[in-house]
């Protein structure tokens, strides 16, 4: 492929007549090998990375979109999506909070997000599509002293190619599923974390993801490697502006925990869910998987999912190492026309592995909320244990909750427990609270927070506060 070809794909550069890199913006919609090459070239990637992407692209072409999830949406036209959107120039982005959509600011206000954070989220003067770079920069000295690497994925590909070659795709192979293959071909950026042997990461690492440009897909890629005896807690927050059209978000997250290592991964996801009539919103089709590769390792997923028009997401653990532990704590809220099909997979491979699943699904409006979980005990996994607790809360009469727990037990020594409940916020409960002087909205929020308590207590403190606030915003007007 010639450089002319690449330039022609980056069409907006010509439209606006700018030449400097910082002015580059969005690729023309459409996907083919040239687009993949162009993305790789944009990021100055080494040859191995381009090859890897191209192989993924070719595999993707042969794959079919999955249809098994309990969600409904019109077919996605993959050739109408733009696969690369670099940071906009400073001319285009809002100069100050005054220029930001007031409704968005109102939401931040309700969330109690501090002013500087709001500016960051709203995309004012910061590259908020992927922001961990600046966070990492702030604490670069402190992290470097500990030997921790925390940088953008692009930087890792250039600076730490050996680690990327060794671990990329080792947890989620390119052809794992349709969206993982697509992501492998066109991922734009993401974050990379490496915790050396014996190191306890001195601070929580956090990232804010944001989809900015219209008509673009967002395909970020996260890779976290925790060497033996290390420990890390990673937080991710997601938000997107309101747009009329649906946007595709297909991320891949891979976690690797070696002997005695622990990774705690927390997500508060608030992608735009679409309006009350189901117009707009993010399609969130994400593959997240952790590999407890070493003995006594532990991977813990905690997620609070309130956004997205459609969520299709199953953070999973491969429990390979003996005595390794997998955990999944989830609150998934679906209001209005939102659809959520989410859960986890716990694959027990090593002996004496154990897993815990606590899933809290809240449905309101006309939303459909699905828990889909797999607990698989392989023949060699002697003494494996799982406890699953799966609770659904319904608000109103038109929503639905569905539970699909799959279990594949191939070792007779396994101990598996499954508990499930479905409850409703009743008119009697609300009247009782109101008679005590508590408004209906506060009563709903109190009941919902009580319902989610077990999951919230797994979140880092400041995230727990944000999650509660987010829940209240998401369920506003759900009753009445």
């Amino acid at each position: 492929m010639t450089s002319e070809n690449i330039e022609s794909i980056v069409n907006k550069r010509y439209e606006h007549g700018f030449i400097t890199d910082i002015e580059t913006e969005t690729f023309a919609p459409g996907l083919n090998e040239d687009v993949v090459r162009a993305i790789s070239a944009r990021k100055n990637e080494p040859e191995f990375m381009l090859e890897w992407r191209l192989q993924a692209y070719r595999q993707w072409l042969e794959m079919k979109e999955p249809e098994w999830a309990h969600v409904h949406y019109p077919p996605i036209k993959f050739n109408e999506i733009s696969y690369y959107a670099a940071p906009k120039s400073d001319d285009d982005r809002p100069k100050s909070l005054d220029e930001v959509d007031p409704k968005l600011l109102e939401t931040y206000d309700k969330l109690g997000i501090p002013l500087h954070e709001r500016a960051r989220l709203a995309g004012v003067a910061v590259d908020a599509v992927f922001d961990s770079v600046s966070v990492a920069t702030t604490f670069k000295g402190k992290l470097a002293d500990a030997g921790v690497i925390f940088c953008s994925f692009s930087e890792a590909v250039r600076e730490y190619p050996d680690l990327i070659k060794q671990y990329l795709g080792s947890v989620v192979p390119r052809r794992d599923n349709f969206y993982a293959a697509l992501n492998s071909a066109v991922f734009s950026d993401g974050s990379f974390v490496y915790i050396p042997k014996g190191v306890r990461c001195p601070m929580e690492l956090s990232t804010y993801f944001r989809i900015n440009a219209a008509n673009t897909g967002q395909f970020e890629r996260t890779l976290i490697i925790a060497e033996a005896d290390s420990h890390v807690s990673y937080l991710e927050g997601c938000t997107a502006p309101m747009r009329d059209e649906n946007q595709l978000h297909a991320a891949v997250v891979e976690l690797v925990a070696l002997d005695n290592a622990q990774i705690k991964y927390s997500t508060v996801q608030n992608w735009y869910p679409g309006d009350e009539n189901g117009v707009g919103g993010i399609y969130n089709f994400v593959t997240k998987r952790g590999d407890c590769r070493g003995a006594n390792s532990k991977i813990s997923w905690t997620q609070v999912e309130t956004g997205s028009a459609i969520t299709w997401k199953y953070p999973s653990c491969l429990l390979r190492g003996e005595n390794s532990v997998g955990e999944f704590y989830s609150v998934a809220v679906a209001n209005n026309m939102q659809q959520a099909d989410t859960g986890t997979k716990m694959i027990h491979i090593g002996a004496n592995t154990s897993s815990t699943i606590v899933s809290k699904g809240i449905s309101a409006g006309k939303a459909q909320n699905v828990y889909r979980g797999l607990v698989k005990i392989m023949p060699q996994a002697h003494g494996a244990r799982n406890h699953t607790q799966c609770d659904s809360l319904l608000i109103g009469k038109e929503c639905g909750a569905h539970t699909f727990p799959y279990m594949e037990i191939k070792n007779p020594s396994a101990k598996i427990e499954h508990e499930a409940t479905t409850s409703k916020i009743s008119a009697d409960q609300l009247f009782y609270c109101r008679q005590r002087g508590i408004s209906e909205e506060d009563a709903v929020s109190m009941i919902v927070n009580g319902f989610c308590k077990e999951v919230f207590k797994e979140l880092p403190m400041e995230f727990a506060v944000e999650a509660q606030a987010l829940l209240n915003v998401s369920l506003e007007g759900a009753v009445g």
């Binding site: 002087g437 109190m446 009580g450």
Partner: protein
């Protein structure tokens, strides 16, 4: 304090209150008695503002305000408390949390600052000691897995915390064994105050052995058919509700 005039109310298409009138002053304890279906609980729910009960006629004024204009939470802020016949369970919500939210909602309405957790616990512990309740109650889910007696005692605790001007206690004695009944009645007696009115809604006279009312009213078919002092309750106990019914229709 409370003036009910010719109140008519229905649930669905069934008229339950058919023109009842009642006056209650501060410091008084009124007992409202009557057979099942006479409208006792409906009266309690209408005063508290339950939306299933439609008021078709009449008026209720409370401290000079038109009570029927107020939302249930506003009535609570104004000092109306309903002790429920069947207190609901709210799993996962801590009893202390609900109580603190309720106390602070009322304080906010009164223009007072919120009580912090420390202050709240101090007050709650005092009230619980006064009512002879185990402080462990505070950390349990609201009414979750409580026995009948515990639920009713929890209502009295809420009343003690909220310090209402008008408390309506709906069948607070039902489902209680004699010890629980005594404990609940003692709690209510300690909450009698010159600036507080209490309406006891009850089917049986036995509660009145422990809480002496100033007035007793007998409700039948949605109206008060007889009022008197506590001797009326005893007479009723002796002669049965049929006696009232016959007297009313005669």
């Amino acid at each position: 304090m409370l003036k009910i005039n010719n109140l008519k109310s229905r649930i669905g298409n069934t008229e339950i209150l058919c023109g009842m009138s009642l006056s209650v002053n501060a410091g008084e304890v009124h007992a409202i008695m009557g057979p099942n279906g006479s409208g006792k609980s409906t009266l309690a729910q209408v005063i508290a503002g339950h939306s299933d009960y439609i008021v078709t006629d009449g008026s209720v004024s409370y401290m000079g305000k038109d009570l029927l204009e107020l939302e249930p939470e506003e009535r609570a802020h104004e000092g109306i408390f309903l002790g429920f016949q069947y207190p609901v369970e709210i799993p996962g919500v801590n009893n202390a949390y609900l109580l603190k939210a309720a106390v602070n909602a009322k304080r906010k309405h009164q223009g007072l600052g919120e009580v912090d957790a420390f202050e709240f616990l101090k007050i709650a512990r005092e009230k619980m000691a006064m009512l002879g309740m185990d402080p462990k109650f505070l950390n349990r889910g609201v009414n979750q897995g409580f026995s009948g007696g515990e639920k009713k005692r929890n209502e009295i605790l809420q009343m003690a915390m909220l310090e209402p001007s008008l408390a309506i206690l709906d069948e607070t004695d039902s489902g209680l064994d004699i010890d629980a009944l005594k404990a609940v009645a003692e709690g209510i007696n300690t909450l009698r105050a010159p600036d507080r009115a209490i309406i006891l809604v009850t089917h049986y006279q036995r509660l009145l052995d422990y809480i002496e009312p100033d007035f007793v009213h007998v409700l039948s078919e949605g109206k008060i058919v007889r009022s008197g002092d506590k001797s009326l309750a005893l007479e009723l106990e002796e002669k049965g509700y049929d006696w009232i019914h016959e007297a009313a229709t005669a």
